[in-house]
Amino acid sequence: MAYQPKPPDGWLKTNLRYYKHPGSWAWILHRITGLGLTAYIFVHIYALTTLTQGPKAFDDEMKLFSTPVFKVLEWLLFSLVLYHAFNGVRIVLVDWANGAKYHKKILTVVYGLGVVLFIGMGILMFREPIANMFASLK
């Protein structure tokens, strides 16, 4: 009997099958980052409701979010934003602006810009500790 590929059954298996194709990683990551950001928006909106409870409630909460661990997490969150945003722009360009012709170039520019912005944001966010580090070297 001729080879019959088994049809994917179930949510998880359908997804795992896609992993076998290297080109679909861009798409998988777009989904994961999109879902991650959607989850973040919900937590974010809830966290900001302390604004209505006065200065003490909000500043107490922000003490936690200003600790080094959360600062790093906030920076890493930016990588989700950048990946999803620039990959999204790439999708639209390839599809609507005849970008398939320049596919490789767009990929390089768009992801390059993302890396530059990520590092730039890191410098912006951590400029004080970085400056202190260099000051202590003197």
């Binding site: 928006i41 909106i45 922000m62």
Partner: protein, 116 residues
Amino acid sequence: MYKHTGSRGSGAPGWVLQRITGLLLVIVVIGHYFVMHADPASGHTYAAVLERMHHPLWKMFDLTFITVGLWHGLNGTWGIFRDYKMKPAVSLTIYGVIILSGIAFWVLGVNTILSF
């Protein structure tokens, strides 16, 4: 009812809007990040946030952000579920949860913005 169960309807208007809101969000989210981290206080202290919140232009920015952001995120999430074959009852339940949670958190966030 079948309109919402994922197997009928092209979904094209939502798909085009997904892209348009996405492009809008590039500027809004990346801008938001730079404003919130311009210095350690700008996104993390009551005083700095309130200074923005009393300005109508920032309110408009936040109202646009929460509306467009929630719509894009939840329409995108629904688009993911639409990829899978589901029983109509399951599909309708998921659709309901997405719509209701979207409305609830939109009201919660808008309430925060309009409190000032």
